[in-house]
Symmetry: C2
Subunit: 393 residues, 2 copies
């Protein structure tokens, strides 16, 4: 049984965290921009990173640290992504891990690093070093951590749960920040998950990959993929409870899916949350192509912004998706109302379809009737407000 | 030597055309919506069609006719795309070819058909049949033809040239209509080219493919690809002049590139024309991926709308394009001003870059420095006006 509890990152036993106003963007600012999360004991650790070929320095550093050591801390900052910063950026990321390690008596390689914010600008390391020295670690700062990594997000994203299993109860907590590329460059999807469950590193890595696949890898707001995207899971075993892998996966799913949803709903200029469920594709890959083509079509997304249950644009997107398609087999429905039947306009009254497209949330089901491939994507509308927010820095 | 002349489609000898107000959308309307283009003699013919798996009935019919016969006429309509209309749509397209053929004493299979406008709605055939009977063919209606196929276009697109070669002079003319998916569904890129040059069908087909590759296949406005896109070339040989293939290609390039440019500039809500020139990619395919990722990035296009010479979003798009990339080799420039050098922000004063990004037209050159692959794409900014225009039907 999964029950929501308070505490965020520090709901699980044996984790502490703290934040600071390092003044990364502006030394005089009093905005939280630095966070440190520490486990009392070494953790089984797992992470997934952006597949963008242009990877920020902290991503490349964290990939190395993850391979090497027993991770015990994560340091994060907003205001500067330390991306496209060359060898100097790598050196700064390394020193940031070192400063975080020094603060809590760990080696640099036991620390993962996440940065988000402006790209191509040197990260002012001394300010972060000062911020890290000043911060207080405790068990009440998770929400402030969630706040400190916000960029264009309008609310902090946090969740924590108590998970009761046949083997005993453990806790899981997480913070995240959303996508939407801004200021003037890219923001980033970041997520840190803590748990006091006992789990081996290989199992945690496998479960995290699976959970990310059906949460963060399902969401698309602007179709762009950041240089800094990172999801980290740390399991310190402090509960002494070893859950069945399926129980831990269920907990990871609950946490990552809740946060992924929050990220979509908090996307720039977003007014709608839309699930695209493709079924009956020849292969799973085809299903993914079809779902992503529809979810990323500028024109389909504009229609949703206007509350228009447009089907021509959806058929068109399916047509160029690269998925195998037989036009006269395609079935599309908004919630349970048929929109397209056998490739032709369904007889559902337009007014009924419009009333669904006017909702803040709805699901579109697309059946290609060619096989058993399925894939779901969560997407949004595309509004004038989104364009306005992204006109420039 | 290529010299622009008057006459459009009927600048070449032996072509006539005419238009009608068939009232396709509204029987009472007086808007031109039907066009017929006829050659006095059978033509060498070539065409390229949308690669969308969802192909409109007229596209499928024209593909068949092109394979079978000596094409001598093209019938076009706006107001209804006859797409996603099932077997009935095919029958209507066939009858439309028949009606056009009857009008000028040709067999249905000698006629190609193009439709653009709303999708999923039965095309009112009797109205077109009536329109075709009423129209007058002559050598002064090319501009009206260009006007009759407009949907969201704001101006008719037409060009004609006199081409003087060592073998003698011939003429080439063309009309086109633009992209931008509208009303409520998709519009379409259509282009009909006429020439009185003597050319064999295989050569014309090869040359048209080449010309389309560096014109219409280079443009992207909204990243969506219509169900109806068609480019047709008819060569009736009436000049008696057989140009060298390179001379005919030059003429085709001049005509298609001019129209492609006009289409981009007339895109919905477009305020800028931007050429993305990728060079130094590992392969031509990589160059294309890189250019298209940048040209289609919602965030990059929003930045241009704001006159922001954003480079982070461009690096990001290159990173996820799938093209092989080495971050520290990437060079990007706006016109001749370096924006990114060796993957890092160039030292060019930002003010200078902004003055280029503020222009109505500029070229961005991206050198991946990994090989000799090149590709150019013409694209636009993405404005609030575009979203507004596409909110619904």
């Amino acid at each position: 049984m999964i029950e929501q509890i308070r505490g965020g990152l520090t709901a699980p036993l044996g984790f502490r965290c703290g934040t600071a106003c390092s003044g990364i963007k502006n030394p005089k600012a009093t905005r939280l921009d630095t966070a440190l999360i520490v486990s009392d004991a070494p953790c089984a650790s797992a992470a997934t990173f952006t597949s963008n070929a242009v990877k920020a320095a902290p991503v490349r550093l964290s990939m190395t640290h993850l391979k090497a050591g027993k991770i015990q801390a994560v340091v994060l900052n907003s205001g500067n992504a330390n991306a496209c910063t060359g060898p100097m950026g790598m050196e700064i990321a390394r020193r940031m891990a070192e400063a975080a390690g020094d603060r809590v008596g760990l080696k640099a390689r036991q620390v993962l690093v996440c940065s988000t914010g402006r790209i191509g600008i040197p990260l002012p390391l001394p300010r972060i070093e000062k911020g890290l020295k000043a911060l207080t670690l405790g068990r009440t700062s998770s929400r402030k951590c969630a706040r400190s990594i916000m960029t264009s997000d309008t609310f902090p994203k946090e969740i924590s749960c108590l998970v009761s299993t046949a083997n005993g109860a453990f806790r899981i907590g997480a913070i995240a920040k959303g996508a939407g590329m801004i200021d003037p460059n890219m923001a980033t999807m970041l997520c840190v998950i803590t748990t006091d469950a006992v789990v081996s590193q290989p199992v945690l890595r496998k479960l995290l990959r699976t959970a990310v696949e059906s949460s963060f890898n399902r969401i698309t707001i602007d179709g762009d993929m950041s240089t800094n995207d990172t999801v980290i899971a740390l399991a310190n075993g402090a509960s002494g409870v070893t859950p069945q892998p399926e129980d831990l996966l269920e907990a990871l799913d609950a946490v990552t899916q809740t946060l992924a949803r929050q990220i979509v709903l908090d996307g720039e200029g977003v007014t709608k949350f839309i699930a695209i469920e493709v079924q009956g594709a020849r292969t799973a890959r085809d299903a993914r192509r079809a779902a992503e083509a529809v979810a990323n079509s500028t024109l389909v997304k504009c229609a949703w912004a206007g509350g228009d249950p447009n089907w021509g644009r959806i058929m068109d997107a399916l047509g160029y998706s690269g998925a195998k398609l037989q036009e006269d087999r395609v079935q599309i429905s908004y919630e349970n109302l048929p929109l397209v039947q056998d490739g032709l306009a369904a007889i559902t009254p337009w007014k009924k379809l419009k009333s669904i497209a006017a909702r803040k949330e709805f699901t579109i089901t697309i059946d290609l009737a060619l096989g058993s491939g399925t894939h779901t994507v969560w997407t949004t509308d595309l509004t004038q407000e989104f364009v306005r927010l992204n006109l420039s820095e």
